[in-house]
Symmetry: C2
């Protein structure tokens, strides 16, 4: 195979959820395209990679030149609520559902012995001062409902500690909407039973 095409396929194949066959399809589509999609994509990648950086306040990726991100600039979002999430895709998911209209804080990972993620790898050192400066009254943890998510949540709570008069909350656990009990795992079922509501 031509080395230029082979290199392109390899780079595409390493992207999330693409793989070897997907990389071939994508490379072929770009090379056979006559509308300049390949060049447009290359330009968009360079433009984004060079000009996008994490917001120094909350960690949301934003234009490097402007300083803080659209959430931190939006004064209407300063409602005392701060939602702690793992990464930007969680922010996008929450924004799409329109359930939350406060500020975000991206910690950038979960503590994990297996993957070697340590406290200093997480974006949490500025959290106590943020809570004071932005008069946060409620910290909502929207981390994955896994052992690692819960471990990280407890660690973040200990870092914030008693620095402020702040309530900690976490998302409810239970049976998902449309969830059939047949297909629910025991852990979820146990949490749903433990958290059952009176009617």
């Amino acid at each position: 195979m031509n080395p230029k095409i082979e290199k392109l396929i390899k780079l595409f194949a390493k992207l999330p959820r693409v793989g070897a066959r997907g990389g071939q399809r994508i490379a072929l589509a770009l090379l056979q395209d006559k509308t300049g999609r390949g060049t447009a994509l290359a330009n968009a990648i360079v433009d984004a990679v060079e000009n996008i950086a994490p917001c120094p306040c909350c960690g949301v990726l934003t234009d490097r030149g402007i300083g803080t991100c659209e959430f931190c600039r939006d004064a209407s979002r300063q409602n005392g609520q701060l939602c702690v999430v793992r990464d930007l895709s969680d922010v996008w998911t929450l924004e799409k559902s329109s359930v939350f209209h406060g500020r975000y804080h991206i910690i950038g990972g979960l503590l994990s012995g297996a993957s070697g993620v340590l406290p200093q790898d997480l974006n949490i050192s500025t959290l106590p001062s943020r809570i004071n400066d932005e008069k946060i009254t409620e910290v909502i943890f929207a981390l994955p409902n896994t052992v690692e998510g819960k471990t990280t949540q407890h660690y973040v709570m200990s870092v914030i500690g008693d620095t402020a008069n702040v309530n900690f909350t976490e998302l409810a656990s239970g049976v998902p909407l449309g969830g059939d009990l047949d297909y629910i795992d025991d852990g979820t079922l146990s949490l749903a039973f433990g958290g059952r509501k009176s009617l």
Copy 2:
């Protein structure tokens, strides 16, 4: 969402088999990467898009500067066999299986009333002269085993016509290796029965 990121996601999402969620994952991975994968990918795209073009002889994508492709340059492949395929990914599939060691001819599509693909859209006008020049004795059709593939095959045969003393062959139809009769469609089963071999 940041417009630069949004644009990047949209361009990725339009690539084959990626889609909206895949585009998000890929854009995030590139933006959060610290090893320069984004820049490397952008450079590889530009390098390939600008320097790769179809081989003027057979249609295989190759370096624009060199002229003909690696298959057409390879004298050991001039064995009188010419394999007619739809596109480059079919060439890669055949190469991977090592079942064929002759020349290829990519026609670049299949005749289709529904998609509006007409004979002049196919790379077949040079086929008769190729067959003469390269002393082809067997034209092997490895087109998809569909109505459109068979229609195209018959059209290509009529174009080559009596220009040369050439044998036409096509890949065998039948039950795939490991194929369970329970999961085989009626059309394949009927072809497999019609083409049964004596033992």
